[in-house]
């Protein structure tokens, strides 16, 4: 039997019927990782023993007729930004190279409670800062569609391991597009939920007011299944929303009522938007129109300010969040001889050396931007200003959603780019986030789904965005699109 590692739904069916054991599924996943990962490099850690033990325990409980969680026996990978007690949690940074968290992130605990089998941790841009997974301290992840290309980032490993067929499900995090952009680059589906829908407890912070954990899988149905397992208010995260969690897998087979889809012409006509990406978006519009959706042009007047706003707020919060990595209580410490410490004194010298050594160039750059934006005299000029513009951006979305149910557009300006292409040009890299950061700034849910292939056989992503807490609507529309198209069934290898 071929074990369908590309579909949680299929695996769950086989596991439930007894045609497949959790151990078989897990072993298949581990074998696949062993085969693909030397080239893809999606994992920072593979937890072979623990995964098999968890699988055996699930099989035993199934045999005993005990109740099992909703993901019982399904292999899953977790981005290395999420704390786990049984594997190192590194954020792909030398700073946390050996860090063992004393607690599980809430989403990890929920995965365990759902009896998912966590096979390993996935590679990422260091501290989730980047759009190519090239800034990881532990080696680059390649795009399973073409090893000379990046998988996107920062959840590059999380997207690549699904695309490579290692696991059907994976958890990523998205601060400015870090789930959606790699999902687009790797030809899978990824959802950034409404800010507050999923607990951030145990998600190592990059920019706290923007970060959100979300599901990645080949299709919308699997994303819904995974979102069910992780969503919901958490007393340990004050910013998690005290709202009911609907069953996101319910009603995915239909769209309720008339669907009004908004198009932002300004984005489709954006300079630098690749013609093949544009074509895929136009095609997707037609798919929805054919399915009976009403297509409406809307405006997001401040969308040209998204990236500048983001690159003030995110680095400001990051510079603060990353202050804790000073090598005093955990993390990398580089001792400085007293004779070398100079005026700074031994403590400050040790802090500076430890941080200077253990952070990569992109992390340092963002810390410096944040320091600049928050330092005396600039706090109001940049930070407060950006927060004000953020409100205008949110208001734009609120107005647009008066007239439409969803927004449709590109995820990225271009198809996957080559390794090294943008790594020395931070501004070019930042412009990869052109279409994605709006959802983070506004706190709304957004999804990326496969919507075409380039002439070079590279995936193109389509983005859907919805009003706050309307993940169900996003998933319904994506599922409808995936019934009408087969882009999500294309595989790289």
């Amino acid at each position: 039997m071929t074990i369908p590692l590309d579909s949680a739904a299929k695996l769950l069916g086989l596991l439930a019927s007894g045609e497949l054991t959790a151990r078989q599924a897990t072993q298949a996943s581990l074998d696949r990782i062993a085969a693909t990962d030397p080239e893809v490099g999606a994992f920072t850690f593979v937890n072979t023993e623990a995964a098999l033990a968890a699988a055996d325990s699930i099989d035993q409980r199934r045999r005993d007729g005990q109740p099992l969680g909703a993901l019982a026996g399904v292999p899953i990978a977790v981005k290395d930004v999420l704390c786990t007690t049984d594997m190192p949690t590194t954020c792909s940074s030398r700073m946390l190279e050996k860090h063992m968290s004393p607690y599980d992130a809430t989403v990890v605990a929920r995965l365990r409670a759902a009896d998912a089998v966590i096979v390993g941790k996935t590679n990422m841009d260091e501290f989730a800062m980047g759009a190519s997974t090239e800034t990881s301290a532990f080696g680059k992840t390649t795009n399973p569609w073409n090893p000379s290309l990046t998988p996107g980032g920062s959840s590059g490993g999380a997207a690549a391991c699904v695309a490579a067929g290692d696991v059907p499900l994976s958890l990523g995090s998205d601060t400015g597009g870090s789930i959606r952009q790699p999902a687009a680059f790797c030809g899978i589906t990824g959802l950034k939920p409404t800010y507050g829908r999923v607990s951030r407890y145990g998600l190592i912070a990059f920019a706290s007011s923007l970060d959100q954990v979300g599901p990645m899988a080949f299709d919308a149905v699997d994303c819904a299944t995974l979102l069910n397992a992780i969503a919901g208010v958490d007393a340990s995260d004050s910013t998690s929303l005290p709202v009911e969690t609907p069953d996101f897998t319910a009603g995915l087979d239909r769209i309720e009522g008339e669907l009004r889809i908004g198009i932002v012409k300004h984005h489709l006509e954006a300079e630098g938007l690749d013609p093949e990406v544009r074509q895929a978006v136009d095609d997707a519009i037609e798919v929805f129109r054919d399915a009976g959706a009403k297509i409406v042009e809307v405006e997001l007047p401040h969308s040209d300010y998204w990236v500048p706003t983001y690159y003030v707020i995110a680095p400001s919060e990051a510079s603060s969040n990353l202050s804790r990595y000073d090598g005093a209580h955990y993390g990398h410490r580089s001792p400085v001889a007293a004779s070398e410490a100079g005026d700074r004194g031994p403590l400050v010298a040790t802090y500076c050396r430890s941080r200077g050594e253990a952070f990569g160039a992109e992390v340092k750059r963002r810390i410096m931007i944040g320091m600049y934006a928050l330092s005396a005299g600039y706090g109001d000029k940049y930070y407060v200003k950006a927060l004000q513009v953020r409100r205008l951006i949110r208001q734009d979305f609120d107005s647009a959603f008066q007239n439409v149910d969803l927004l449709l557009g590109p995820v990225t300006p271009t198809p996957p780019f080559a390794m090294g292409e943008k790594i020395d040009d931070p501004l070019q890299m930042y412009l990869c986030d052109l279409f994605t950061v709006g959802a983070n700034l506004a706190g709304i849910p957004a999804l990326s789904m496969p919507g075409g292939l380039t002439s070079n056989n590279l995936p193109i992503g389509i983005q859907l965005q919805a009003p706050p807490l309307q993940e169900a609507k996003l998933l319904q529309a994506a599922a409808a699109f995936q019934r009408a198209t087969d882009w999500h069934t294309k595989r790289p290898l």
């Binding site: 999420l82 704390c83 949690t89 954020c91 946390l96 860090h99 968290s101 004393p102 607690y103 992130a105 951030r200 407890y201 145990g202 998600l203 190592i204 912070a205 920019a207 706290s208 007011s209 007393a235 340990s236 995260d237 004050s238 910013t239 400001s316 919060e317 510079s319 603060s320 990353l322 202050s323 804790r324 990595y325 000073d326 005093a328 209580h329 955990y330 007293a338 005026d343 031994p346 403590l347 400050v348 802090y351 320091m371 928050l374 330092s375 005396a376 706090g379 930070y383």
Partner: protein, 490 residues
Amino acid sequence: MDQPYEIVIGLEVHVQLRTTTKLFCRCATQFGAPPNTNVCPVCLGMPGALPVINEHAVQLALQTGLALGSTIPPMTKWDRKQYFYPDLPKGYQISQFDLPICDGGHLTIADPADESQTRTIRLIRAHLEEDAGKSMHDEANGRADSRIDLNRCGTPLLEIVSQPDMRSAAEAKAFLTELKLLLTYLDVSDCEMQEGSLRVDANVNLKIEKAGDTIATPIVEIKNMNSFRAVERAIAHEAQRQYHEWEETGLTIKDRTKRTFGWDDAAERTVPQREKEEAADYRYLPDPDLLPICLSVETVEATRVALAEFPAVARQRLQSDYEIKAYDADVIVNQGRGVVEYFEAVAKGSGDARRASSWIQQDVLRTMKEQGKGIADFAVSADTLAELLGQVSAGKLDNARARDVFQHLLEKRGSVAEAIKALGIESVDAGEIESLCQELLDANPQVVEDVRGGKMQAIGSLIGQAKKKNPNVNPKQFREICLQLIQSAG
């Protein structure tokens, strides 16, 4: 004016709030636990951990603000104050920057220069923040590593900031005394300076009158004062120091930014602390991990209504309810809520508030001071003392015998009846006293003469003799019977 300058003092008081758990996590706040045992991912600043507000800390801050007459703004929020220090594991302290929970307010104190007057010290604000951990430096070894204990890290503090309204070291001390009384009265804090649950920084400068001009000296913030007495002495010393410095250098507030001095208790002087080379830039940032607090008018008013009585109110009430003097009410209230409750129980139980007031001020407080004990540990309960004083008021015991009973109760505890029995105090029946009176009057005709001549106090000389013959004789009763006998014989 005996000094050529006026001192200007503003105080910043950090008060540790009496919660069971920390401000943003559920670790215990208990003092004196072994190092690094009351810690968790949140207060250790571990990657991924997030703070969650302790509701009780907000309540205690609100109560304090209301008692201090602060305005409670409709919205208050949290900010990160950022600096690197190993007792601050996140690299920032969660505090409140521009929208504190308590705005303004004031505290009225007795004027140390004139006890009959009061002074009102205005407050700028009071805000909530988390405490840092403790760094222990090996001073002897100089270069050795510092040891960090994070048990205290995250303990809720209320920082109360006064206006620079105090004009003498004695006023600063009076402010702190009254503030501590208020806070312990409300039970919002232990205010144990020794345990660090009350910490004071003083901002001090001088206004010097010279040739019709007023010159202000540079401001100095004094730290490391570990008792109210130290605060008083540090300010007095610093004022002198600033005056001499001004005489030597002529530098004014315009020439120098605020400096930090520490108080060296042993040397009895303020000493400059090492200045950091970089100017403090805390890069305040609204904390994205914590949502704002909005206290509705209803919540604030309900808290105000439910607020425990505070000292100023208690002083008034004791005067009106128990008809004791302002001075007496002051002494009792200044001892704290425990003594007030004790007084009220004794006053009610004995039915004689003035006697209760006088006994508590003289006998109870003196004994407490001698024994170094609080009222909670006092050997004679309020009920017992009430019973004893009730017997005095009823004329069953004289004050001297009552003191014997009190002393016995202090040493042996037990009930009033048991003490009376143990001391062999028996009530003497009227016939027995009458014959004793007769006997003594017969033996002392001169006394009878004197009384008849109008010198009633002459009986006094017989009381000593009567007591010798029978120690249980009540002098008041003895006196009355003697007078009756003399009159009836006349």
